[in-house]
Structures are given as structure tokens and as C-alpha cells.
């Protein structure tokens, strides 16, 4: 299992790397080394300097001071091409493939085989197959990238890195949008790469998974490497070093008072995946929905909120039937949605914090002539900024300039401004640092204490387990199990999420 020996050559060394942006120190003094066959986990809060460090290694930024050595040789990494030549490849969180080209065309993009401008497809397909075989995955080189799952697309990116003879592969949050089984497959590939003597730098927010993959964990805080931990470090300990203080309670206590039913769903189906989903949420409740990626959780949220056309079944809000939902009417009836992807669907990035906050409800910012009163709007936004602890210069700052956590808080402010009774939250803490996470958890708790409710959809099981009064498990568009907070465990949820009830053969469907 352990592929690392003392003889493994040192692939990469950095000495005292420093980088400042206009007087702001992004990296103080970073020194580390990476051996062949090793996976080094790099963790830290947003803004700790991880991406700056990666950008220096991949040639996007130039360092102010310090040395970089590759295989003992001092190198200059002037631009991304140079990094590629030196054997450094980055797998970005947002994959950089072209969806309408095939797997092999993507892998050899810009480096096509052939003579006199005539492309030799057969050779590229053969090479691609060889690459995919070497990491033991079965993907057809001729399939379009568009048709692949996110996990498969990531494999294509990794193959692309390998085809460029990369020795040092940097992975930026590779598991952010993978299901648990896909994560296991990815880890299998990483182990295979390690056996081949490649060095991996692995950046992740999912601290629980590091144990299964990394040899060492380096913690970055405020641009400095504050601690190197062994792979079996406890998550609490890692967080402590990331944040610089002890976090005693990540999750709030769940002692809000449960009251009347706020939202009921009966036999909800859509044309894609949902089939006969029934559930209800009561005042004071956080109901978690868990399942593998693509099991219908997102579709459930979108169907209830009115983003899906042609749904069957019934939705009731406080006992009133709600037919043909649309976002406008959902908001009026007291539903709010925090969508999965805040940049794509949650915010207008070029607009100010104030304008984003009032986007769903401008009424309170209008004057008697029904014109927008900027001063009023600012006051309102300022209130929410204070309440949600959004860190910015003022409310006129464009949201594109905010960190992930603060952007997410703006999304929450926007939803809260419509005075919802039930908020459907999809991945509310994705890409958000620990401090902001805790703040968002507390906001959820505060919210349900006001006789309101949250439907929480998250791929992070600890979050589901820590926050939910009840947990629903989805598989293939159906709710397959329900647990109370006390009953729910990671194992039970995974058992049902991976189709465990079918093996049991208990509740066979007659249709």
C-alpha cells in the first residue's frame, strides 16, 4: 500500500516562496517538498494562499522571492507552457475540456498527431486507449466529452496530464462534485499514479477523505505553512490549525420546537428522474436529503420551486394546494431556493451586494413613486450585511470580488429578503471556509427557530447528519429510507443510497 520509500526521489522543492499583490501578502514564506509516489494534501481556508501557490507552480503568477527546484534543478516557471514542459499539470476544479469534442481530441488538443496537417486519428485513439488502460478505466476514446459524467471527464483530464508526461499532478478539489463511489474510483487512480512514481498535490475542503489518500497534510494559513500533519490526523485537529483556534461545535444543537406542517409533497414525479416522491416538512425542522450524485435530490428541489416543466403529483404549502409552480409564485407563497451553483444561478456577479440582496424583493426599496430609492436599498442591504456578517467594504461592492463564503451569504440574504417560510438549500456550504460554514449552520438554526423550516440537500454526509432533524435518502429518483436524527448514521445512509434496499428485497414496487 505504502508506495513511498526514503529512496523515492524528491520531485519538487520550494524554498521560501513569497508573493504579494499590491502590498497585500498572499504567500509569506512557503517551503515544502514532494517526493515521487507521494500524495501531499494541501488544506487551508479560502484565501489562505492555496490557489496563489498553485498558480505560481503552474506559471500563472511569478513569485517575488524564493526558489523552486524540480528534481534538484532550480527552475523558472515563466508561463503555463513552461510548467507543462517541466512536467507540472493542474487538474482544475472547473474542468477545461471542450464538451463537443471526443475524448481523444481533447487529450491531444493542440498536439495532434499527423503529417502535413493531416490528422492521424487512429494513432491518437490508440494512444488514448493505452493511457486509459494504464489507469485502469474503461472509457471509449471516441465518445463525446459531453456524454461523460463529471467523474469520467476528470479521468480524461488526468489522462491528458499523463499524455504530457506530467510527473507532478496538482488536483484542485477533485472530489467536489463526485459521488462516493466515484471518489473511490478516483482514489484508485491516484494510488495507481503513486505506484508509477508520480507526485500528487491534492487540494481539498473535504477533510474526512484525506486519510484515505494522502501521506502528509500541509496546512496553509494566511500565506504560511503553519503545520505539517501525518495522514491519520483527526479532522478536528486539521480544522484547528486551519482556523487558528479551536472550533468546539461545528453544528448547532437541534432543539427547535417542531410544529405544524409547512410543506407537503405527494407522489411528485418529473419527466427526468423523480418518481412518486412524498415527504413533508414541519415548522422548526431541518430535513436533510442525501443520496449519491444524480439520484434526484437537485431535481426534487427544482421541481418544488417551479423550475421544472410538467410535473405530476401534488405540492401543498401550509395545507393549500400549489399547482404548476413557478419561481415567482413560490416566492410569494413563502418558498426560497439556495441553488447548487451560486455563480451560475444564485447571483448576478457584476451587480453590487445591495442589488443582489434586493433582487427577489425590491418592494421595500421603492419610494411612493415606485422608483428605486438607493438610500433605502442601501439601508436594507446594510442590515442584512450586518446580520449575516458579510465581509466587504460596503454594500456597493460587486459580488464578483467577494470570497465564496461571502458570496453564499449574499445568496442567503437575497432569499431571506423574501421572508420565506421554507428554504430549500442545495449545497449551502460548497466551497465555503470553515468559519463561514459555522456561521451558515447557525443561520439555519436561527431560521428554523422562528417556526420556519429548511430542506437541506447536501453531498456532505457530516453536514446532513449534524444538522437534520430527519434524513431522507434518495436513490434513482425515489425516497428509499427515512431516519430520525438519532437513528441516522453514515453507514445506514450509504447502504440505502447505493441501492441496499433492493438487495434486501423488502419493498418491491409492483409497477
Amino acid at each position: 500500500m505504502n508506495t513511498l520509500t526514503a529512496q523515492s526521489p524528491i520531485l519538487l522543492e520550494t524554498h521560501n516562496i513569497q508573493k504579494s499583490f499590491m502590498g497585500h501578502v498572499a504567500l509569506g514564506d512557503v517551503s515544502f517538498s514532494l517526493r515521487g509516489g507521494e500524495c501531499l494534501a494541501l488544506v487551508g481556508e479560502n484565501g489562505a494562499g492555496k490557489s496563489t501557490l498553485m498558480k505560481i507552480l503552474s506559471g500563472v503568477y511569478k513569485r517575488d522571492h524564493g526558489l523552486i527546484k524540480i528534481k534538484g534543478q532550480e527552475v523558472q516557471i515563466g508561463d503555463p507552457k513552461a510548467a507543462q514542459k517541466l512536467g507540472i499539470s493542474i487538474i482544475h476544479q472547473e474542468l477545461q475540456l471542450i464538451p463537443d469534442l471526443t475524448v481523444y481530441e481533447n487529450i491531444f488538443l493542440g498536439r495532434e498527431y499527423g503529417k502535413a496537417g493531416i490528422i492521424n486519428d487512429a494513432e491518437m485513439i490508440r494512444q488514448t486507449r493505452k493511457l486509459l488502460d494504464s489507469i485502469e478505466v474503461a472509457i471509449d476514446p471516441k465518445s463525446l466529452v459531453r456524454q461523460l459524467t463529471i467523474a469520467e471527464q476528470q479521468v480524461v483530464e488526468i489522462s491528458k496530464a499523463l499524455s504530457q508526461n506530467a510527473d507532478i499532478i496538482i488536483m484542485d478539489e477533485p472530489t467536489a462534485s463526485l459521488s462516493l463511489t466515484e471518489v473511490q474510483q478516483l482514489f484508485g487512480i491516484i494510488h495507481q499514479l503513486k505506484r508509477e512514481g508520480k507526485g500528487i498535490i491534492y487540494i481539498s475542503h473535504r477533510l474526512e477523505e484525506l486519510r484515505g489518500i494522502a501521506e502528509r497534510i500541509c496546512v496553509l494559513r494566511d500565506g504560511t505553512l503553519v503545520k505539517e500533519l501525518p495522514c491519520d490526523a483527526e479532522v478536528d485537529e486539521i480544522i484547528e490549525h486551519m482556523v487558528g483556534r479551536k472550533i468546539t461545535n461545528l453544528y448547532p444543537e437541534l432543539n427547535s420546537e417542531i410544529g405544524n406542517c409547512l410543506l407537503e409533497v405527494d407522489n411528485l414525479s418529473d419527466s427526468q428522474i423523480l418518481s412518486d416522491v412524498s415527504m413533508q416538512i414541519r415548522e422548526g425542522e431541518v430535513v436533510g436529503v442525501s443520496g449519491l450524485m444524480g439520484s434526484g435530490q437537485t431535481q426534487l428541489a427544482r421541481a418544488i420551486y417551479g423550475l421544472t416543466k410538467r410535473i405530476k403529483g401534488e405540492i401543498r404549502i401550509e395545507g393549500q394546494s400549489y399547482k404548476n409552480p413557478s419561481p415567482q409564485r413560490s416566492i410569494r407563497l413563502g418558498l426560497g431556493l439556495v441553488s447548487e451553483d451560486r455563480k451560475d444561478e444564485g447571483l448576478v456577479l457584476g451587480m453590487s451586494i445591495a442589488s443582489n440582496t434586493t433582487l427577489s424583493n425590491l418592494e421595500p426599496a421603492l419610494n411612493k413613486l415606485r422608483m428605486i430609492d438607493s438610500r433605502k436599498e442601501n439601508q436594507i442591504a446594510e442590515q442584512y450585511r450586518g446580520k449575516l456578517k458579510i465581509k466587504s467594504v460596503n454594500c456597493l461592492q460587486e459580488v464578483i470580488l467577494l470570497s465564496g463564503g461571502n458570496q453564499q451569504k449574499v445568496v442567503l440574504a437575497k432569499v431571506m429578503m423574501t421572508n420565506p417560510k421554507v428554504i430549500i438549500m442545495c449545497e449551502p456550504t460548497r466551497g465555503v471556509d470553515v468559519n463561514a460554514k459555522v456561521e451558515i449552520y447557525n443561520l439555519i438554526d436561527q431560521f428554523v427557530r422562528e417556526k420556519k423550516a429548511v430542506l437541506l440537500i447536501s453531498s456532505e454526509l457530516p453536514e446532513i447528519l449534524g444538522l437534520s432533524h430527519r434524513v431522507l435518502v434518495m436513490d434513482k429518483g425515489k425516497i428509499v429510507a427515512e431516519f430520525s436524527h438519532q437513528e441516522a448514521t453514515q453507514e445506514k445512509i450509504m447502504y440505502y443510497a447505493t441501492g441496499g434496499n433492493l438487495i434486501e428485497g423488502g419493498e418491491a414496487d409492483d409497477k
Binding site: M22, G23, G350, L359, R370
Partner: protein
Amino acid sequence: MTNNAQFWMFARKYGMLIVLILFITVLAFISPQFFTTSNFLNIGRQVSLNAILAAGMTIIIISGGIDLSIGGLVALTSCLCAAMLADGHSIFIAIGLAVLVGAAGGFANGFVIAKTNIAPFIITLAALSVFKGVTLLFTNARPIPIDNDTFGQLGQGYLGKIPYPILIMLAIFFIVYLVLKKTKLGRYVYAIGGNEKSAILAGINVPRIKMIVYSLSGIAAALTGVLYASRLLSGVPNLGTGFELTAITAVVLGGTSFTGGQGGVWGTLIGVIILGVMGNALNLLGISAFYQDIVTGFVVLLAVLFDRFIYTRLATN
């Protein structure tokens, strides 16, 4: 560092205004006829009609769309207005009908765009062809003369020294400014142009806003058509060719982002004036009008490069 960022912010906001002022200063030294009230009023009178189109186009482009059909609507509404007057209808009915037809034409664009989600470029290109065809059909491609001096006042008359079209243009720009910056509609236009998906999720009725926006562009085209009819004292069927491109040029010069969500109508006014001053200057300096197109092309290119330059400066700061 903030000083730097602030400088580039300032440059982005007022860049074209500074260019315009430099332009005017230089020209004032070169040509004695240039820096006179009468010449300025002359420029204003020349640009005012097409400026109204550019105001409508500004709203469309901020919403993330484009309207290529306005030239066709200008021709159609000017001929319609002329035909109504020739038929002996009152001025109010003639103008009213023209505006109504303009709004309906724009609405049709908006309706198809909102319902089909086909690119506005294609829909409005098709509409341009239809509007032109309808105009030629009902006029038999012959101009319709207008024998009505009161109506002629609208495009030719003066309030004191200032031509009516300038006043009308300024009024329209002010209204568009209020709509864009002070109303829910305007905020939604920016939101849709900035991120349509977020706008839908925020509960904004995106199809409705699109229909309104294209209707407004249609109304702007109709007002331009009416003013042309008044100025030329006839409805001219082949009027309006290329007007959409002039409007787009002014909007782009004014710093409104072609990808939507950014910009404003005062920038467009500066864009319009720059184009007008350029034409006027070349004219005064006795340079062939053909050069004007070439110069315009390069000015637009420079403006966009300048904007990009500032934007990257802002991004790295």
C-alpha cells in the same frame, strides 16, 4: 493600491467623455467654424434622430440581446405616418398609430425571442426583412409626400434657438435613464443581462421583461420614423438601411458591455455625440465622407481595446 484601482475605475467610467472633450478641444483649434453654438446645434440636430434608436438599443444590449430590425421599423412607421396624414387623419392619430405599430413590431420580436429562446440576432434579422418587405409592399416602393406644415414643425422647428428633435432626444434619454436606474424594470434588465439563470431563480418574469424591452425598442424606432417623416416631409420606404449598425456603434462607444448587464444610456449619448462630432469635423475640414466610415471603424476598435485594457487593469488590481 486602492488609488490605482480608483484611477482605473474613474478611467472606465469617464474615459469616453474625456476622449470627447479632447476631440472637441483639438477641433476647436483646428477649425474656427467648429467651436460655435450654431455648429453644435447643427451637430445635435443631425444626431438626435438616430440617437433615439441608440437609446432603445442601449436597453436591449444591457438585457443581453440585440435588435437588428429597427431600421425596418423606422421605414415602416415613417411611411405609415405619412400615409395616414395623406389620408387626412389628424397628426395625433398618425403618430399614435405609428407608435402603436412600432410597439407591436417590437413586441412580436420579444414574444418570439422569449418563447423560443432562439438567438435575438436571428429573430430580429428575420424581422428586419419582414418589416422592409411590408413597407415596400404597401408603398409600392414610392415615397409618400406629406402636405402638413404643423407636422413638419416637429422635425424642423425650434424652441428659441434649440431644434425640437434635440429636446425630444434629451427627454427620451432622461426617461430611459430613469427606467434603467430607478425602476424595477430597469433593475431586472441589468439582472437578465448579467445572469439570466439567476434572474429566473430570483423570481423575475424573464419572458415578460424581454417582451417589454423589445417593445420599447420598437417604440424608439417608431418615434425616429415619425421624426424623419416630419423632417423630410415624406414617408421614405428605403429609409433606415444601416441604422441598426449606427445605433450599435454608439452604444458600444458608450461603454455598454456587449455581453449584457453593464452600461448605461449617458454613455450612449456620448457615443452618439462622438460619432456626430467626427462626421461634422471631417466635413468642416473638407475630407471626403467616405473617410468617415473608415475613421468610425477604427474609433470603435480603439474604444473597445481601450475598454478591455482598463478592464484587465482593474481585474489585476
